[in-house]
């Protein structure tokens, strides 16, 4: 016993995925580069000293310094949104044991959109708090609805049935949204930017409202990771390992919906971040969720920020909303993953 533990301890260090430290360092470097890029690049090119003024000299009140300050909040917001969507995707994939579960594919963020649009159109909501609560309600109801439809019939919630249910729901909700918006041109502008998914309009107060939701969601996400690892082996195995599968699914799904709903409330429906970040991380680090969930947060932050910077550069002198960019990158990845998952579900 003592012998096997002695040799075992040395050999079995590998439960931490290979290259984990390397990947972590690389991710942090990438993250730093993204932040720099997000501050430096935009539709309005800046000189180095203008950037420095905006970053470090509160007394300078020039046009360019204000652009930089705007970019700081925008960058912070896109990092937070990316992290939230990355973890939300990882949670939804684990709960449904389905590799293509992602807030946008399941229509969850369209549900959030519909509620926010109703709020704008019928109750003239305007504060970040109202946006968030409405979006949370919308995403929760849609999640239950889509999972319900997708699990009907033989075989439970298979990837393909969930995608179909999600796509159909998305389309239906999308047309409802249009139907509500078209006769109300007066709210069109408030809504238009938000609808495609944009992190450009972030304000510090909005971020302040968003952060508590983000923290709660992330914390739950990290805490349920070991139990989700057990759930990944099947419901029976998980039960044998002492997991209350129903309760676990509920809590993890709640956190996923919270993260996605709060993000959608302030940034609009940004798609595919959850799908992209988790699959990249899983490809590099393997399936251990204790690593996949936190690293998906970092990967999500990186991908969303890159997409945002890319959108500003491509769209210059205007900008291309980040939701459009992520959809362009994400759609082909979805097709690849969905094709592979015919062979194997998570």
């Amino acid at each position: 016993m003592s012998n096997s533990s002695g040799t075992g301890t040395g050999r079995l260090k590998s439960h931490v995925p290979n290259r984990f430290v390397l990947v972590m360092v690389l991710c942090l470097v990438l993250l730093a580069l993204c932040v720099c890029a997000s501050l430096a690049f935009g539709s309005r090119p800046l000189r180095f000293h203008e950037l420095m003024d905006g970053l470090f000299r509160q007394d300078v009140d020039s046009y360019t310094a204000n652009i930089v300050r705007k970019r700081i909040s925008r960058t912070v917001f896109s990092l937070l949104c990316g992290a939230a969507l990355g973890v939300s995707g990882a949670l939804m994939q684990s709960v449904t044991r389905n590799p293509i579960a992602d807030p946008s594919i399941l229509g969850v963020n369209m549900g959030a959109s519909l509620f926010v649009v109703c709020g704008i159109a019928f109750w003239s909501i305007s504060t970040a708090n109202q946006y968030i609560w409405l979006a949370l309600a919308g995403s929760a109801i849609t999640a239950v609805f889509v999972f319900g439809i997708g699990s009907m019939g033989r075989g439970g919630a298979t990837p393909i049935k969930l995608v179909l249910a999600g796509a159909a729901t998305s389309a239906a909700l999308g047309s409802l949204i249009t139907a509500i918006m078209i006769p109300r041109s007066y709210v069109m502008d408030q809504f238009r930017f938000w609808q495609v998914g944009s992190v450009g309009s972030a304000s510090w107060s909005g971020i302040g409202t968003f952060v508590p939701f983000l923290l709660v969601g992330l914390l739950i996400g990290f805490l349920v990771a070991p139990a989700l690892n057990a759930l990944a082996l099947g419901d029976d195995t998980a039960t044998g390992l002492g997991v209350r599968t129903g309760k676990l699914r509920f809590i993890a799904a709640l956190a996923g919906v919270l993260l996605c709903g709060a993000t959608t409330a302030l940034a609009g429906p940004i798609g595919f971040i959850g799908l992209l970040s988790t699959h990249v991380i899983r490809l590099i680090l393997g399936p251990d969720l204790r690593f996949v969930i936190p690293m998906s947060a970092i990967a999500g932050a990186i991908i969303l920020t890159i997409a945002d910077v890319g959108g500003r550069l491509i769209g210059s002198p205007g900008e291309l909303e980040v939701g459009v960019v992520t959809a362009f990158i994400g759609a082909p990845i979805l097709i690849i993953v969905a094709m592979r998952s015919k062979v194997r579900s998570l």
Binding site: T9, H15, R97, A232, L241
Partner: protein, 267 residues
């Protein structure tokens, strides 16, 4: 040696939504022994095992561990005493042997699932027992069916439970691997005194490897005891509807069923 436990089920009625499969079964699991549940397809042997292993909530009746009803014990605490290997667990894509075996440590770990020295030791020992240490860093997809099954059992061993339920652990395996798995489980039972309860398809292997056999027919317990007490031609006729001669297994001395079909019967 693992501690002795009293695991008992009384008047269990269980099944699925609109179909009762188990009609009032009383059973006491003998501690430190290998028990095998046998019966024909659809007799409810798997359902009984699942009910005992708390995968199915019984409609009525009680299951107790050391006098305490299972539903009064916290799942995680129970999972440190009673382990389970279901028939078709799911393999997460790209998982390594060590990662999979390590997941058996869940009920012993703290909130964040950090590995303690005890976890490392348990995983190393489980892999040693199942002779899969050499595959530690391999991807499960690279292994053969028999090797995979050993990995799964190692996962259940890493859980370090005193009682282990296995639902058809040898199904889909070649005869060589069936014997190998049953040998390894016997090793485990003899070395550490782990109580093993399993469903097996092959009645002759059951008779050879079991200390205690439980025979089910149409959801009721029809016979219980040592293999030589239970495995008789009358019982086989009763529960499988098969004519047979029971002889002594020339290798082990346990009863061996030789079926009689409509052809090739010369005596």
């Amino acid at each position: 040696m693992k501690p002795t436990h009293h695991f008992q089920a009384e008047r269990i009625v269980a099944g699925y939504e609109n179909k009762t499969v188990i009609h009032g079964v009383d059973i006491v699991i003998p501690s430190h022994q290998i028990s095998v549940i046998i019966g024909s397809n659809g007799c409810g042997k798997s359902t009984l095992l699942k009910t005992l292993a708390r995968l199915i909530k019984p409609a009525s009746g009680t299951i107790t561990l050391d006098g305490k009803p299972l539903n009064k014990i916290s799942p995680k605490q129970l999972a440190r005493v009673v382990g389970l290997l279901p028939q078709s667990p799911i393999v997460p894509e790209g998982i390594t042997v060590t990662d999979l075996v390590g997941r058996g440590r869940f009920p012993h770990q703290s909130l964040f699932g950090n590995w303690s020295n005890k976890d490392y030791a348990a995983v190393a020992e489980a892999m040693e027992t199942m002779k899969i240490t050499e595959f530690a860093n391999h991807n499960i997809d690279e292994l053969s069916g028999g090797q995979r099954q050993r990995v799964w059992i190692a996962m259940a061993l890493a859980q370090e439970t005193d009682i282990l339920f296995l639902d058809e652990p040898t199904t889909f395996l070649d005869i060589t691997y069936q014997v190998e798995i049953l040998d390894l489980l016997t090793d485990l039972n003899r070395k550490s005194g782990t109580t093993i309860v399993m469903v097996l398809h092959d009645i002759n292997l059951s008779a050879r490897y079991a200390d205690h056999i439980v025979a089910l027919h149409e959801g009721r317990l029809v016979a219980e005891g040592t293999p030589s007490e239970v495995v008789t031609s009358t019982l086989v006729k009763d529960i499988f509807g098969l004519d047979c001669t029971v002889i002594e297994d020339p290798v082990s001395g346990s009863p061996m069923v030789v079926p009689k079909g409509r052809y090739h019967v010369n005596v």
